[in-house]
């Protein structure tokens, strides 16, 4: 059974004429790493918020279809129930950290769940360790860099032991180096803990090789859904103007596929291929 199942989802924000999501059908299996991309305003953010139920529960608006997460239908349960299954990381780290120390921040979730103190302590230590920010424990979120703040946001969600991590452009405010280290962390969590990852990201250059699947949104609809190599080499992808990796563009211009069958995604894959071609 898929861990996330979205069926003919339609949603329009209260007071807006145009729907933000139209007839979305989407499935994700446990342990999958899915990258979601698409032009601005295509419904990615709305889709993320529909996955843990804050849409439609907190936002209202017109909602049709169904979103089922680990057997729970979002409209039939409270957000705090769904939140224990689906962890949502937002774009701006500053607005999702509201405590005055990293440790308190990370403990906030399990405190709400009224777990025992020992259990909270254990989960907090574990999450800080896993994300590699144990040394920041005493700091105030205000004193941290953007990359560190996003790591705190992840740790704060991991303490609730979610099955799915949904991240809405988490690297948008980060410099390339911090972004890379953050994405590596995601890949590690996915691999070691088996957490399902749904990552909204424009920098496909950095993530497409990590992903099992690539989903492209446009105008509130899913227009492409498949393995990254299929999706990114398709004509639709280049037409939409999403951040197709440079290696893909070069390979297409070189018409590499006429020579080899391979579809390189990264610059090093491309380099290896080119070196391997005998004149």
């Amino acid at each position: 059974m898929p861990i996330i199942e979205v069926q003919s989802l339609y949603y329009s924000y209260p007071g807006s004429k145009e729907p933000s999501l139209i007839d979305i059908n989407f499935k994700a299996n446990e342990g999958e790493f899915v990258v979601i991309s698409g032009p601005s305003g295509c419904g990615k953010t709305t889709f993320c918020r529909a996955l843990n139920g804050i849409i439609p529960v907190s936002y209202g608006g017109e909602f049709k279809g169904s979103v089922v997460v680990d057997g729970l239908e979002t409209t039939k349960h409270q957000v705090y129930e769904i939140a224990q299954k689906v962890a949502l990381v937002f774009q701006n780290p500053e607005n999702q950290l509201f405590c005055t120390s990293v440790e308190r921040e990370v403990a906030f979730g399990p405190e709400n769940l009224a777990l025992s103190r020992e259990e909270i302590r254990c989960r907090v230590d574990e999450a800080l360790e896993m994300v590699g920010i144990s040394h920041l424990r005493e700091k105030s979120p205000d004193e941290l860099s953007g990359g560190e703040q996003q790591k705190v946001a992840i740790a704060a969600l991991l303490t609730m032991r979610p099955k799915v991590l949904v991240l809405d452009e988490p690297t948008a405010n980060l410099d390339p180096l911090s972004a890379r280290s953050f994405l590596k962390l995601l890949a590690r969590l996915n691999e070691e803990m088996g957490v399902t990852v749904l990552l909204v990201e424009h920098r496909l250059e950095m993530v497409s090789h990590l992903a099992d699947r690539c989903v492209i949104f446009d105008g509130g609809k899913i227009v492409l859904d498949g393995p990254p190599r299929e999706v990114l080499y398709s004509d639709t992808a280049s037409r939409l103007g999403i951040g197709v990796p440079k290696a893909v563009l070069v390979a297409k211009r070189l018409k590499l596929q006429e020579i080899t069958k391979a579809k390189p995604l990264t610059s090093w894959e491309l380099a290896d291929l080119v070196r391997g071609i005998k004149p």
């Binding site: 918020r49 843990n52 804050i54 907190s58 409270q78 957000v79 705090y80 129930e81 939140a83 224990q84 962890a87 949502l88 937002f90 701006n92 500053e94 607005n95 999702q96 950290l97 509201f98 405590c99 005055t100 120390s101 440790e103 308190r104 403990a107 906030f108 979730g109 399990p110 405190e111 709400n112 769940l113 009224a114 777990l115 025992s116 103190r117 909270i120 302590r121 907090v124 005493e138 105030s140 979120p141 205000d142 704060a156 969600l157 609730m160």
Partner: protein, 252 residues
């Protein structure tokens, strides 16, 4: 607004920092009451001087000093206004001067008492003590978040001011009224963005299971130690001593 340096908490490991916020709260309430109650400038000076050992043990000379220096600006206002009010209400010159001096010392003493409290008490411990004093968690959390977002809002106001200045807004021009009016293009975006931020913060809180249970656990529980009882005892005894001065020696 250098007086605000008195609210700029930094982590510390001194015995004063380690005191339970509740015992410091007892001190804060008792001593503020005394400061408001007494009029005698010598007693008020004594109350001010009594904060100095705390400043010294708490090693907060730097920010405490800035905050006291910053209050000097207000003192001149307080002195002049108080003096004028006293003279107008028919006091003699000498009484008016004395009352002005008392008022000024009282102000500085209050600033000092509050500064020693806030400079040595972390917002999270203060929040926790509120929870343990049976204040509903929602209120305690609101207080904690206010402390957390003050610097963020300050930063944001700076950005908006820069953006508006680069479009030609002149903040430091004109008389008082125009200057106030000049700030409207800064305030409106700031207020709107704060509302948006509040929504996003609410989303983040809901995503972290806020409201999942009626009785939530706290990772930390504050406990009173022997230092706390000692501190409360000293505060209470000196409080009673000063009050008896008032009752038996008639010093007001």
């Amino acid at each position: 607004m250098k007086v605000l340096a008195g609210f700029d908490y930094r982590r510390g490991k001194t015995p004063i920092h380690k005191l339970d916020p509740r015992s410091k709260l007892v001190y804060l309430v008792l001593y503020s009451a005394l400061t408001v109650y007494f009029k005698n400038p010598l007693i008020l000076l004594l109350l001010f001087v009594s904060t100095i050992p705390i400043v010294s043990v708490g090693k907060i000379w730097g920010r405490w000093g800035i905050s006291i220096k910053g209050s000097v600006f207000f003192i001149s206002f307080i002195f002049i206004f108080n003096f004028i009010a006293q003279v107008l209400s028919g006091s003699t010159m000498a009484d008016a001067v004395l009352s002005g001096i008392s008022m000024s010392i009282r102000f500085v003493a209050l600033i000092s008492i509050f500064a020693t409290f806030f400079l040595t008490t972390s917002p999270e411990e203060l929040t926790q003590s509120m929870v343990q004093l049976k204040i509903p968690y929602d209120y305690a959390l609101t207080f904690n978040m206010a402390m957390r977002f003050v610097p963020t809002l300050g930063k944001e106001a700076g950005h908006i001011m820069d953006a508006q200045k680069s479009r030609g807004l002149e903040l430091e021009k004109g008389n008082l009224m125009t200057r106030i009016r000049n700030y409207i293009p800064v305030l409106i975006p700031l207020i709107i963005s704060s509302f948006r931020r509040a929504e996003l913060v609410a989303d983040a809180m809901e995503s972290r299971a806020f409201g999942a249970s009626k009785k939530r656990t706290s990772l930390y529980v504050l406990t009173m130690g022997s230092n706390d009882y000692l501190f409360i005892a000293i505060s209470a005894l000196s409080f009673l001593l000063l009050l008896s001065l008032n009752l038996f020696a008639g010093i007001a």
